[in-house]
């Protein structure tokens, strides 16, 4: 039987990207600045979120979406303990959050009483890079103990970043981590990337990071005022 070629030319991630645009629209309508926070497990995502909340509240109201592969609420509970709204997403073993999961989670958050939304992605440096969520910025935490070669190994995630955080800088004296080598790798992938070296343990660098977040929230509010 004769076959026929049908042209398609459709991006394979298009369905996710469309839902992501809808999420962004919804966030914009509510004047919320949203961050997609990615990192490997143990890099300090939850610690940074808690530090950020403590520094910015009560001036800013922060909402959090916690992504985890297991049905636990450990992280969401910590955020709720700070008096901020949190939704836990259990991805059921999936290695990343996608735009549909965020769309469902947004339904459960009091969007009118939030200025800043932080989405804690699943701890993974590969899969989250492929799925846009509809946030305004993609932020990665690289932590010193992970090693200085990560930009060279996980190129996709570094290329899609708007901000890089280097956490656990208090450990630099004890760990063989060549900051120049690390930064050179980042520069190749993402020239001029905004970077905040900090420590969630000592608090060093937290003020610079939270000042940046605050400026982004205020910029958005004044644009839409």
């Amino acid at each position: 039987m004769a076959t026929q070629r049908v042209p398609v030319i459709e991006k394979i991630m298009d369905a996710n990207d469309q839902v992501a645009s809808m999420n962004k629209k919804k966030l914009d309508e509510s004047n919320i600045f949203a961050i997609n926070l990615m990192a490997s497990p143990g890099a300090g995502k939850t610690s940074l979120i808690l530090r950020t909340i403590r520094t910015l509240s009560p001036d800013l109201r922060v909402g959090v979406i916690e992504g985890d592969t297991a049905p636990v609420t450990i992280d969401a509970d910590k955020v709720l303990a700070e008096g901020m709204p949190a939704v836990q997403i259990n991805t059921g073993g999936e290695c990343h959050l996608d735009a549909v999961m965020i769309s469902n989670a947004l339904e459960q958050l009091p969007l009118d009483s939030i200025d800043l939304l932080i989405i804690e992605n699943v701890g993974n440096l590969i899969c989250p890079a492929a799925f846009q969520l509809g946030t305004h910025v993609n932020v990665l935490i690289a932590s010193v103990p992970e090693g200085d070669d990560k930009p060279y190994k996980y190129t996709n995630i570094y290329r899609g970043l708007d901000v890089l955080i280097i956490n656990k800088i208090d450990l630099l004296p004890y760990i063989s981590f060549n900051m120049d080598y690390f930064r050179q790798g980042v520069e190749l992938l993402n020239p001029g990337l905004i970077t905040f070296p900090l420590s969630c343990t000592t608090g060093e660098g937290i003020a610079e990071w939270t000042a940046w977040v605050r400026s982004q929230v205020e910029k958005r509010k004044s644009q839409n005022a």
């Binding site: 030319i9 394979i12 991630m13 298009d14 590969i126 190129t155 996709n156």
Partner: protein, 114 residues
């Protein structure tokens, strides 16, 4: 790791276009993939055989066309191919580069029987 979600997306795009074209069956699917996309073709093929079963796309062969990665230097405009690792501009040594090819990931076309 996320190949299942990707394969489901390929299936849904292919089914939609097959139905629009009033196909009886899809025999081939042509996918274009840049060398920088972190997708493993073997895993996509593995999931494909399972999830396309019983659909209009059941038994269709997946073809992957790989696009080599290329970068252009933002300082001297030199264009060069990237091997496994991102490397600075071989002409002037600058680290300010931009990826121009290798990030593609789309369904190019399908082959159908009516």
């Amino acid at each position: 790791m996320h190949e299942l979600a990707v394969t489901e997306s390929i299936l849904s795009i292919a089914k939609r276009h097959a139905e629009q074209a009033k196909a009886r069956r899809v025999t081939d699917i042509y996918i274009v993939m840049g060398n920088l996309s972190s997708i493993i073709d073997d895993s996509v093929q593995f999931y494909w055989d399972i999830i396309s079963d019983g659909s209009i796309c059941s038994g269709a062969t997946l073809h992957f066309q790989r696009i080599p990665a290329q970068a252009v230097c933002l300082d001297c405009d030199h264009q060069y191919s990237l091997q496994e690792r991102l490397s600075p501009c071989p002409a002037c040594g600058s680290a300010k580069i931009k990826i121009v090819n290798g990030e593609e990931f789309y369904l190019d076309s399908i082959e159908i029987e009516r």
